[in-house]
Each structure stands twice: as structure tokens, then as C-alpha cells.
Amino acid sequence: MRKLWHFHGGLKLDGHKALSMQSPISRAPIPQRLTLPLQQHIGEPAQPVVEVGERVLTGQVIARAEGYISAPVHASSSGTVIAIEKRAIAHPSNIHDTCIVIDTDGQDEWVTSHETRQDYLQMEASELRNRIRDAGIVGLGGAGFPSFIKLNPGTQQVDTLIINGAECEPYITCDAMLMAERPREILDGLLIMRHALNARQCLIGIEDNKPDAIRALQDALTPEESQFIEVVTVPTRYPAGGEKQLIRTLTGQEVPSNGLPIHIGIVCHNVGTAVAIARAIHYSEPLISRIVTLTGQAIAQPMNVEVRIGTAMQDLLEHAGLDTAKLARLLMGGPMMGFIIENPDVPVIKTTNCLLAMARTEVAQEVPAMPCIRCGECTRVCPAKLLPQQLYWYARSREFDRVEAYHLFDCIECGCCAVVCPSHIPLVQYYRFAKSEIWAKDREKQKADIARERHEFHQLRLERKKREDEDRKRKKKEMLEKAARGNDDKQAAIRAAMERVNAKKAAQQQSAASNKDTSA
């Protein structure tokens, strides 16, 4: 047995996982309309490369990656582009963003044949990364960071590749089902990543509430693979599936604050990402679908479905039998970190792991917050080992420098503190508020810095001009003075000449007079 490490805090939560694990993963029907946002990932939004009216095929690139941290978008099914415009998207702040809208033709005609299996061992690491990038693969665990970047360790030696199958959020089961049903594909993805990273060992971390997934993966391992791959059962304790927490549990190491796992020789990917990578490399299949958990008491048949990216959430919810009368709150993601979907017409994107339709009985009634009594329960459960009560105190009083001194930016917003708070203070909201205020201040400061630099440059230019002008004036004056001095000499010469002339004249007159005298 591998030695496991303990991460601080965390909570034992009711899983509610059995709800959506009654039936195997099914395929959702291809919808009549696909809405594909250009930004489904962290980084720069993709740039459209199709035009309205154009026919596109399944798997065709419809928007290319822009810059390094970005990901392309592919048509999830064949059809016609009917619009490239701002549409409502799934976002905590309910915003609109540019989407490519496709009316599907139902033929699902692929852009290339993708049947033949290709051998990843023949490919260089850089080629693997390029293919993964071109396939539009981003972290499917929820963050949506372009995966190829995490497969580029640079000069860093990679010791451990971790595949995250912990899935600690209540209700969500897409990873658990994927592991139970398609363990081989996960291992294939793992082997490709291992090849790209040249990792020494590979660990697959799974919470102990998923015995089927653990068994399936262990059974799928070949004896040769089990030399370097280990399926590790970790205790079920939220947020065991947080990247930092899982790394700590499996290796005892802490990802440095402001650092990345790669800085300690570790790379961590989600099981769904592993499958997407396997399909991209073996079959040149881009990321056009994902598994989504449809669950909650307001859904008649909770299930896991493989969904084309861009499918409207409403279509899926109807597919699973949403009871709108029962629905109290619709979330994308789990109850701990998910956000409210106000408008269910928004599309499923690459990071949509769960649609949670909560009935009234599942949502706690809003209770008025009481003052903080500093009981410290939040400190006890904080996996980042922060002092949430102090952060709250300073966030509330807008002392943002103090908030930062208490390491606000190490908060992973897991929500444990808010759940245990006896005063029912929405702590995470305060932290988000403080973070956004600090970001806004930073942006303003940057703007102010730029403005100040411009102003200083302007001042400098003015001063230079003034100096140059003065220089010029001085030089001119000198010249003039010199010229004036020159004039004096001339006048002196003239005067001298005049004097000489006068003297001569006088002498002549004198001699003439004497001559007259002598002649008279």
C-alpha cells in the first residue's frame, strides 16, 4: 500500500452520487442547433475561420487558437453556420459572448476519416502536443486550461504524472462513470501523456466512494503497465479532488503558492482529459463531445450522457425529464463550486461537467447572516490553511492590503468555510468580492502607471524642448553678442581711420597755410 498524506481541513459531505449512476452513459441526440462559444477555455478566445452560410463538417475547425494560451473550436456536428454573434453563455455573471451558431443537418458527416488507429510511440513529444492542441483539448475537470501547455515541461524533469479521478464534488459522477466504463481509454491517454512528459511514475487518484471505477481501472492495467502505473484509493473528503489537495495526498508535496505542479516535477490531468487525448492521438478526433452528469431531485431520470459541445442545456434537461415545477435552482457544476444558470438556453461547453437541477428540498433556505463570533470552525476546515475569519473581517472592512497579507489569493474558493459557519456568513462571496476589487485596483493602478509614465514622458519632452529652446536662444544671443562685438571693432577701425584722415587733413591744411605764407 502506498503511503498517503493528509491535507488540512476539508469536509465529509453527502455524496448524492448514486442518483445519477443508475444507468450506463448514454449518448444524447444530436441537437438541431449548436451554439459554440469562442472562449470555452482559459486564455485568448479563438478566432472564427468560417463564414455565415458556410457548410461545416463534424470535427472541422471553425475557430483557430489565437496566441499560445488558447484552444481552437471544432464543429460538433455537420451543418450550416447561421450566425457568428454574441449569445448568452454559461457564466457566473450571466454574460453574452461571441458564438458560432450551427444548424445541424443530422448527417453528422466527418471532415476526415478517423477510423485508423495511429501509433503514438512514433510521434515526438512536440508532435503529440501539437495534435492535442489542434484537437482543442482543455482540462475537462472544470478549469479548462489548454492541456498541451501542461504537457510541455520545458527543461523540468517530470517525476509523477497524476490522473485525477477523485471527483470530490457531491452529485457529479461523469468521471466515476467514465472510469468504470472506459478504463482502457483513460489508460491509453495516460500512456500518451507519459510518453510526452517522460514521467517516471503515474498515479491515478480515486476517492474510495467509487469502488467500481477503482476495480475497472485495476482490472484494465496490464502487468507491464502496473510496473509504473498505480491506481491509488484516497479517502473521500472534499476537496480531495482539488489539484493541490490530490497532489498533497498522493505525494506529500505542496504546490508552492503562486507556482505550478510542474515546479515540483508533477503534472496532473483529469480522467476525461485523458480520454480526449487518447481519442485525439489515436483517431485524430478533436474534442467535440464530453460526458455531462444530469442530476438533482428536479430531474426524473438522472443520468450521464455523452453530449456534443454546443448543445443547449435546455435540450439535455428535457432529455432527462426536468420537472420545472420542482426546480428551485439550476447549477452548472456541483453544489460546492458550481454557479447558477439563470437561462437554460445557454450551451454546454468543454468544461460543463454537471447540470444540477436542485429541488426546493435540496436547497437550504437563505438565512440572515449573524455576526462572526470567531469560533474558528472555518480555520479548521480550510484546505489552504488560511484564516477565513480574518479574511472575512478585512474583506468586509475593505482593508484589501490586509486581506492580501492574509494570503487571500491562496483561497481556492472550495466553500468549506461557508458551509460550516455557524453564523451562516457567505464567506466565499466576500473573498470573490475582495479578489475582484483587488484586480480592479491593480488594473486601475496599471492604467494609472501608464498614464503617469505618459505624463512623465510628456513632461520630459517639454523640458527637453525648453532646454533646447534655451540652448538655441543662448547660442543666438552669443552670436548676436559676438556680432555686436565685431561691429565695435569695425567702428573703432572707422574711427581710427577717420582720425587718421582728419589728422592728414589737418597736416595738409597746416602745410598749405605755411606754403601760402611763404608764397604771399
Partner: protein, 349 residues
């Protein structure tokens, strides 16, 4: 900001903890101590408790009204109730009624609401109420009833008559009825040049284990405190650090000179140590809030309690120990921040 609901989206079960629940558990934990106290020292505690509770609740309501705060959530949070019940336990059972009322008013109005109410008071309200009375009315505040064991006991009506009207039963005088607490008595006698052994041999207070009656009350409060730790209403660090530091100093002193320094167990069970450690020092609002800070905070109270008891002029040191450490709590918190995940251990702390 509150109109915009973001994660976590709590489910009803997650929301089970509340300030009210914590306060109710504290009250539950006080029951054994209360019962044993009444058994040994009579009905005075009940009279004080009724006076303190009703005054505290009225004062709480009046202050909430003045401060334009909603009455219902704050009156039902249980905090004023707990303050009153702890204050009642700290007061002598035989006490003029207006002193119990005065102490409650000081606790709720001065110590709590003038600083901003629940969560904002820097000093433990019950201890502020107690300390003001102790300084202003030392005569009343140091006179205890003898424990039942001594054969002298006051009936409910007698006790009530004295507390309300100052009327004593016919056959007795105030001085005959009251006596000092064991801690106080020992202190006085040591001051007169007696040894610990001589004192303990010659006064009723010291029969039983470590002050008759007080030992059992302390034991029950210890049980209640362990229950609170088990229920995670209080953090273990404060009581453990306080009792350990108190016992350690007492042990050293006792080993050095047993004639002038009592047995450490007497320090633990003979006075308000258990009440202080589990019910007063653990008031989260006024205590240190970091794990390491709580150890320092608790140890500080233990040390100060011993110092005040041994070399000070008051019958017990817990109240002043707590109030002094209340002063230090924000500073302690500042310098005992835990190492945050992914950070090197802070060198400056």
C-alpha cells in the same frame, strides 16, 4: 452583494450548525455543574440566574432596539442567555439582588453592546460584569455560603428573603452565615503566616478533596467542558493550555515549598479554574482564534491566574487573567498565523 447567490449552494443538512445551536450546547454542558452547585450551595444560584437572565435579556432587547437591530434573531441566538448563566455561576449565592442586576447590565450594555454587540466585544461580558462588582463591592463579592457538608444551609425562602430584602433568618448573623471560599481563605491564612497544612486542617472549607463542594462543581464543569470539546463547540487548545500551565507552575511552586504553595490539584479544582478554562476563556469572540494563538492565549490565562491568586489581592485570578488576555488576543492572532498551504514557514512569525 447578498442578492447575488454564489457557491457554495448549501443544502439543508449543511446548514445544521448555528450560533443558537452552539449556545444551546453550552447551556446543556452547564447543567451538571449547576445541579451540583445547587446541591452544595443552595438556591442562591437559581435566584441569581433568574435575576441575571431576565436583566440580560431585557438589556439585550433594549440595546438592540436603541441600535435599531432586529430583535428576534439576536435574542434567540442565545449569547445573552449564556453570558447571564455564566455570570450567575460566578456570583456568590448570597448577594443583594441589585448587584446581580447591576453586573448583568454592565455585562450586556457596557461590555457587549457599546462595543458593537455580538461578535465585536473585545472583553468577555460576564467577566466584565463580575470584575466591576468585585472591585466596587468586595465585601459582598467575597462572602460565600458554606457548602452543605458543613451542616449550615439556607432554605430557598431564607436565601430569597436575604437576596431581595437583606433580611437574615432570626437565629443567625451575616458573619456567621457566610464564609470565604477555600482559595480566599487559604490566601488570607497564608498572609497571616500559617502554612497550607495548618490552614487546611483547621477550617471547614478544606474538608473534602480540594475545598468541599468546589471539588465536585469543578468536576462537573470539567465533564461539561469535555462534552463541548467533543461536540466541537470549543477548541481544545485553550482549556488544555490554561489548565496545563496553571498546573505546571503550581507543581513547581509546590515542589519548592509545600508549606506556602498548595497542591496543584487544589489550584485546578479548588476555585474557578474549570469554569474559566472551559466556559469563560473559550468564549470565541474574545479569545485568540488561530490554533497556535489559542495555546498561547490559554497558557497566558493559566499563568496570570496563578500569579493573581498567589501574589494578588483577589480571591481568585481567573476573571482578571481572562480580561488581560482578552487585551492580548488580537496581537497574539497577528503573530500566530498558520503557515498557508504552499508557503514556506514564515520566518518573521
Amino acid at each position: 452583494m447578498s442578492a447575488f447567490i454564489t457557491s457554495p449552494h448549501t443544502t439543508p443538512k449543511m446548514l445544521s450548525n448555528s450560533v443558537t445551536r452552539m449556545m444551546l450546547l453550552v447551556m446543556l454542558a452547564l447543567i451538571p455543574g449547576y445541579l451540583v452547585y445547587i446541591w452544595f450551595f443552595g438556591w442562591g444560584l437559581i435566584i441569581n440566574a433568574v435575576l441575571c437572565v431576565s436583566t440580560a435579556l431585557l438589556a439585550e432587547a433594549a440595546m438592540l432596539r436603541l441600535r435599531q437591530r432586529p430583535l428576534w434573531p439576536y435574542l434567540t441566538d442565545g449569547s445573552a442567555l449564556v453570558t447571564a448563566l455564566l455570570l450567575a455561576l460566578a456570583l456568590p449565592p448570597i448577594l443583594p439582588w441589585w448587584l446581580a442586576v447591576l453586573a448583568s447590565l454592565f455585562a450586556i450594555i457596557l461590555a457587549k453592546h457599546l462595543y458593537g454587540g455580538l461578535g465585536y466585544n473585545p472583553f468577555n461580558p460576564a467577566m466584565v460584569g463580575y470584575a466591576i462588582l468585585l472591585i466596587a463591592y468586595p465585601k459582598y463579592m467575597t462572602a460565600w455560603l458554606p457548602a452543605r457538608h458543613d451542616g449550615l444551609s439556607l432554605g430557598f425562602m431564607d436565601n430569597l428573603r436575604y437576596n431581595l430584602f437583606g433580611a437574615l433568618p432570626d437565629h443567625t448573623s451575616y458573619d456567621a452565615l457566610t464564609q470565604a471560599t477555600p482559595l480566599d481563605k487559604l490566601h488570607i491564612q497564608l498572609g497571616l503566616g500559617k502554612t497550607v497544612a495548618e490552614t487546611q486542617a483547621s477550617f471547614h472549607q478544606f474538608s473534602g478533596l480540594y475545598g468541599v463542594g468546589w471539588d465536585w462543581v469543578s468536576l462537573m464543569l470539567l465533564l461539561g467542558g469535555l462534552f463541548l470539546i467533543y461536540k466541537r463547540v470549543i477548541a481544545w487548545q485553550i482549556p488544555v493550555a490554561m489548565l496545563a500551565s496553571l498546573a505546571l507552575i503550581a507543581l513547581i511552586a509546590w515542589l519548592v515549598n509545600a508549606a506556602t504553595y498548595p497542591n496543584p490539584l487544589f489550584e485546578l479544582f479548588g476555585g474557578a479554574s474549570m469554569l474559566g478554562a472551559f466556559f469563560i476563556a473559550t468564549d470565541p469572540v474574545t479569545a485568540s482564534t488561530t490554533p497556535r494563538g489559542r495555546l498561547i492565549y490559554g497558557a497566558g490565562i493559566g499563568i496570570l491566574t496563578y500569579v493573581i491568586r498567589t501574589w494578588g489581592g483577589y480571591p481568585d485570578g481567573v476573571a482578571f487573567g481572562v480580561l488581560l488576555m482578552n487585551l492580548a488576543a488580537p496581537t497574539i492572532d497577528q503573530y500566530t498565523q498558520p503557515r498557508v498551504f504552499g508557503h514556506e514557514r514564515d520566518k518573521s512569525a
